[in-house]
Symmetry: C2
Subunit: 189 residues, 2 copies
């Protein structure tokens, strides 16, 4: 029994993930159930932002299924290494946090092996892993209400910009006399 | 005269941006021309990663038009506040950097007003801004070859994971005795 993931059937969602993420990664599939659970536990019609506690896989589920993307600023990735996300009201900063709960993985040992990295990729029973993800759905997730601390709510940058006197490119004046790249963070040789 | 943006017509790209980003933001439209220019200047068939020097708008153009997303780890966002991106060979780390070049904006003053924040949203001539973006296409971009410093090439996390003794959630053991959230970075009250 598979419930839908937002407005998509499970198979439609797999195709969506494939086209965006490159392949139907287990983490993005589970992420679909996580987003769906979070959205269903928000008050209807609320305008929400998203916070994702890992860089791996989960941000893509959020970007595919909600209005929140990296580029529009409604999704913040805070790399804490936890497989968890929260959706919260843009104005009150209250919302819900959903995480993948190891304590609920008893019936789904291949998911647990994958999640806890107990097997190498070669040892992994991929077919069983995918079957368990679909069977488990939201049953291995946990949820709690949260309120975000103000320092973690993304502020839109509204300050002045100028041309950096060193590299000549536009940059936020609040960063200093020259741009952050010219201050030593330039990633290129 | 508008060239295509990757495999899309300009109008198709606008619709794609609308569905993902929420609205056809000027920055994502210009970003489309930037990605297209960068890809065309890579050797054919090369497997590339992406680095984006701003959090604003541009990451979405990269995610829509290349295989690189936040969640699959092929896109790194390094928030330097510069409207620039680079695509580089996954193995040699050599590639091209494309940036929006203020020095080339002479014929497109409304783009310049938007880019340098010289007008308020109310003063902005939106119709003219969109017309100029389409007219300019790649003519306000500059490009140079780059090679990335090793410390900016994203390393995939391959270490062990364990359950955090404090919050009980899975986390990378290399982060310490407890997870980063429990070390004080928890974003919630
Ligand atoms: Zn600079
Ligand atoms: Zn913890």
């Amino acid at each position: 029994m598979t419930s839908k993931i937002m407005s998509y059937s499970y198979d439609e969602y797999i195709e969506l993930v494939r086209s965006f993420h490159g392949f139907p990664a287990p983490g993005v599939l589970i992420g679909g159930f996580m987003v769906d659970l979070a959205v269903k536990n928000l008050p209807e019609g609320v305008l929400y932002d998203a916070l994702c506690e890992t860089k791996t896989c989960l941000p893509d589920a959020i970007q595919l299924l909600t209005p929140c993307t990296i580029g529009n600023g409604w999704l913040t990735v805070l790399p804490l290494g936890r497989y968890a996300l929260s959706l919260y009201d843009k104005y009150t900063h209250e919302g819900v946090r959903v995480y993948l709960d190891e304590a609920k993985m008893g019936p789904w040992q291949e998911v647990r092996n994958w999640f806890m990295k107990l097997k190498t990729k070669q040892e992994q029973d991929t077919e069983r892993l995918y079957r368990e993800i679909q069977e488990a759905g939201q049953d291995m997730l946990s949820l709690r209400p949260v309120k975000l601390k103000p320092e973690f709510v993304q502020e839109k940058h509204k300050g002045k910009v100028a041309l950096c006197p060193k590299c000549g490119e536009s940059y936020p004046v609040s960063d200093g006399e020259v741009c952050l790249g010219c201050q030593g963070s330039d990633p290129y040789f």
